[in-house]
């Protein structure tokens, strides 16, 4: 009789251990990293402090593993892995993996046979109980069984023939799987959908641009312009459970560099919007780049901050936007508290209006003979994860000072697609630590080489800031001063946001670089 009981106990233990406990989504990340940003706040701040300023210089490699894609192309890990009950889950275009967090050993590998779409990157998975969700470049939402990697179902979320492509990390709120779409080659309209985790059916859809007669339609000159106005939803947002609001950054309007057919502010492109996750109804919006004509997708993470502002405790939201401005909002109502540039040289705007919005300078729009614009299309910031440490009160982001040429090539009354071209001329990569209360730069780390950096950031209660530099080092800094305390050279630059979690009483830091994952921990 003992054997069956033993087997039953094992089975029960295994079943009890595997599903994601939804309560984990509401806590700061410790033994789990169950969402793209670790929790709902977007802070990427871990309360763990086993690894701290006094011992980080002893940090050691626990394991390193290379992953090979099935299907098209090589692997570039842009996804932030989830870590749930000792298993890491991550994705690349058309591919998803489960990996033992203790050893790096591959548990399963799922491959999707693609029908097309731009294979630009996959930013990760969402999880609900035992089920995983990820998007493919040809715009299917795939649900996998986390235990086996077997597909439960797939649902088309956009039509790849219309030049959509997909790869956002799905965002799970209760029984809502929020999925976004990408693709701005041909003036298709953006939207966000909520899908049922059980069936994949649509619960609601929120359109980024209004339809005639709806609020916001007055910021477009015509039905045609708003229905072809872009505004993609290609990056996950953040969520406040108390207010029951999902905060999402929206992409650029279309046509991209030729705005002559879309006079007006072009709501709700290049905005931060607050949506009710049960209904998809918008509670408020704040437009960070009105009437954008520089490809400044405003999808950078809207990070939730609870703290003091001008002597008052407030619920706030902060974003270091691609357009070069740091914005701080009251997240209960979307009112602007502060707007300030976080890099030097920003020249596309001619001031800040009474509502706290940068005012675009029409002279800086793309011209046929070229306009020298700062920052360039790649932005002062981009999707690379920022971090906020409640311990230091600083908001951290990788940033670029940059100049580029914008040429308008389509001068017709009805331009199409990009309607222009862009070339980066010069850029300098920085790590900026921003005091959220003033928008001022508390400290700045200027990398001693030019070029881009796609590494996200992570802060911890150990007083540390983890990230990657443009020359393939992973590092830990003193989060208060920016002093580098530890680094290790990898085979490629860090290409995702590092995560941390506790397992068997040990704190791990895991970073992706190109086609490999690296795990670090302290020696026992």
């Amino acid at each position: 009789m003992r054997r069956p009981i033993f087997a039953a106990l094992l089975l029960t233990g295994a079943l009890a251990a595997q599903p994601l406990n939804p309560a984990k989504l509401l806590q700061p990340p410790t033994d789990a990293w169950p969402t793209y940003n670790g929790d709902y706040t977007g802070r990427r701040f871990s309360p763990l402090k086993q690894i701290n300023q006094s011992n980080v210089n002893a940090l050691n490699l626990a394991w390193a593993r290379r992953f090979t894609a099935g299907g098209r192309g090589g692997v570039q890990i842009k996804a932030t892995p989830l870590e749930v009950n000792g298993i890491l889950y991550f994705a690349a275009p058309d591919n998803a993996w489960a990996v033992d967090a203790r050893s790096g050993r591959e548990l399963w590998h799922f491959t999707w046979e693609t029908t097309g779409g731009l294979h630009i990157g996959n930013r990760g998975l969402g999880m609900y109980g035992d089920w995983l969700f990820f998007e493919t470049p040809d715009c299917y939402l795939i649900s996998l069984d986390a235990k086996t990697g077997k597909m439960r179902w797939n649902r088309q979320i956009a039509e790849v023939k219309r030049e959509y492509f997909c790869g956002a990390a799905p965002f799970v709120i209760r029984n809502h799987v929020l999925v976004g779409v990408g693709g701005d080659s041909l003036d298709v309209p953006g939207y966000l959908e909520s899908r049922d985790p059980e069936t994949g059916q649509v619960q609601w859809r929120w359109n980024t641009t209004p339809r005639p007669g709806e609020p916001g339609a007055e910021t477009w000159p015509s039905k045609e312009s708003m229905e072809h106005g872009g505004g993609m939803t290609w990056h996950p947002g953040t969520y406040d459970p108390e207010l029951n609001l999902y905060y999402l950054g929206t992409g650029n309007p279309n046509p991209v560099y030729a705005p002559q057919s879309r006079t007006g502010d072009n709501l709700y492109t290049c905005s931060i919007v607050a949506l009710n996750p049960d209904t998809g109804k918008m509670a408020w919006y704040f437009q960070v780049s009105p009437h954008d004509s520089h490809d400044f997708d405003n999808v950078e993470t809207p990070v939730l901050i609870d703290g003091q502002f001008k002597g008052q405790q407030r619920k706030m939201l902060a974003q270091a936007a691609r357009n070069g401005y740091f914005v701080l909002l009251d997240r209960t109502n979307g009112k602007n508290l502060l707007t300030a540039p976080f890099v030097e040289g920003v020249n596309w705007a001619m001031g800040i209006d009474a509502q706290g919005r940068p005012i675009p300078n029409p002279d800086m729009e793309a011209k046929p003979d070229g306009t020298l614009v700062s920052p360039t299309e790649a932005g002062a910031a981009n999707w690379f994860a920022p971090s906020f440490s409640p311990a230091t009160g600083l908001f951290y982001t990788h940033a670029s000072e940059s100049y580029g040429l914008d040429w308008r090539t389509d001068l017709s009354k009805t331009p199409e697609g990009y309607g222009g071209r862009n070339q980066t001329i010069w850029s300098q990569n920085l790590l900026q630590a921003i005091d959220y209360r003033t928008g001022k730069i508390a400290w700045s780390h200027r990398y001693p080489n030019q070029g881009g950096n796609r590494s996200g950031l992570l802060t911890t209660a150990g007083g540390l800031l983890f990230g990657g530099d443009p020359t393939s080092n992973v590092f830990a800094m003193d989060a208060a001063s920016g002093k580098i305390l530890w680094h290790a050279g990898l085979h490629a630059a860090v290409s995702n946001g590092p995560i941390t979690f506790e397992l068997d009483g040990r704190q791990y830091v895991v970073a992706g670089a190109g086609d490999m994952l690296y795990a670090f921990t302290l020696p026992r």
Binding site: E159, S185, W234, L372, N382, L405, Q423, P448, N449
Partner: protein, 265 residues
């Protein structure tokens, strides 16, 4: 949208001042569906102008009577006329579009023409840049020799002789602003002097530098690297003035200088 792919393969760091970013997205990646045959596109264009152009415009961008077809969902969803054909043959009478009794081959040709139009709109890397030489060459020459101080390092009879013949106009524009390497040819490397805590300074051509290591090629051709925390580094960046000028140019100065450089054929 952010479009830089495969960071490690696109960014080649050759030296401190010389970083080559790949073009955002290669053409092949933007166009994912088959490119229609050229002859079908040409036949389809003629047929389109004759049958559809009056309302939809000769280039299918739309006209007074009909909408832009380049971004039409029916056109984008179409395969070889399977979605377009029924609309052409039945018309949309309540929207004022008559029916056209075209044979299948002509419908396929029109579909090929419209596919070519959509792909041209999608393929932004192939958009033709218009005239960039819009400035005043004389004013540009004055700036070159005057407040721009370009003549401190460059001369039209020396390094810039024939420069306008060596580059396409938009390449010339990008390279005069900041001369990067890559397809436009090598740029000037930075020089570096490393000063150890004790012993003699070492100078050479900078090959690599991050927060931890500096690597150089010395006068004898040997590669040498040094830990940053034990030395002082003095970098001479020959392009520093170019980076500084990016912050100072007015739009007029930029186009005047470019137009002047465009005369150096």
């Amino acid at each position: 949208m952010f479009r830089v792919l495969q960071a490690s393969s696109c960014v080649r760091s050759r030296s401190l001042a010389l970083v080559v970013l790949c073009s955002a997205v290669a053409n092949a990646q933007l166009i994912s569906r088959p490119v229609p045959p050229r002859d079908a596109v040409e036949r389809g264009h003629k047929q389109f102008v004759a049958t559809c152009g009056f309302c939809h415009g000769a280039d299918a961008r739309g006209g007074d009577g009909g909408p832009d077809l380049v971004r039409s969902e029916i056109v984008l969803d179409d395969e070889q006329g399977d979605k377009i054909g029924p609309v052409i043959r039945s018309g949309r009478l309540n929207e004022g579009m008559p029916a056209f009794d075209l044979p299948q081959s002509q419908i396929q040709d029109i579909a090929a023409f419209l596919r070519e139009r959509t792909q041209a709109a999608i393929n932004r890397n192939a958009y033709e840049i218009l005239n960039v030489f819009t400035g005043d060459a004389k004013a540009g020459e004055a700036y070159f020799n005057g407040s721009g101080r370009c003549n401190t390092c460059h001369s039209p009879a020396g390094d810039l002789k024939g420069v306008a013949s060596r580059f396409r106009p938009e390449q010339l524009q990008a390279r005069f602003l900041y001369p990067r390497g890559g397809r436009g040819g090598p740029s000037k490397p930075s020089t570096v002097t490393v000063i150890p805590r004790s012993g003699a300074a070492v100078s050479g051509t900078l090959e690599f530098m991050d927060d931890f290591t500096v690597g150089l090629r010395d006068a004898d051709g040997y590669f040498r690297s040094f830990p940053r925390d034990q030395i002082k580094v003095d970098v001479g960046d020959p392009l520093a003035a170019h980076a500084q000028l990016l912050r100072q140019y007015t739009d007029k100065q930029l186009h005047d200088v470019l137009t002047y450089l465009g005369t150096l054929k």
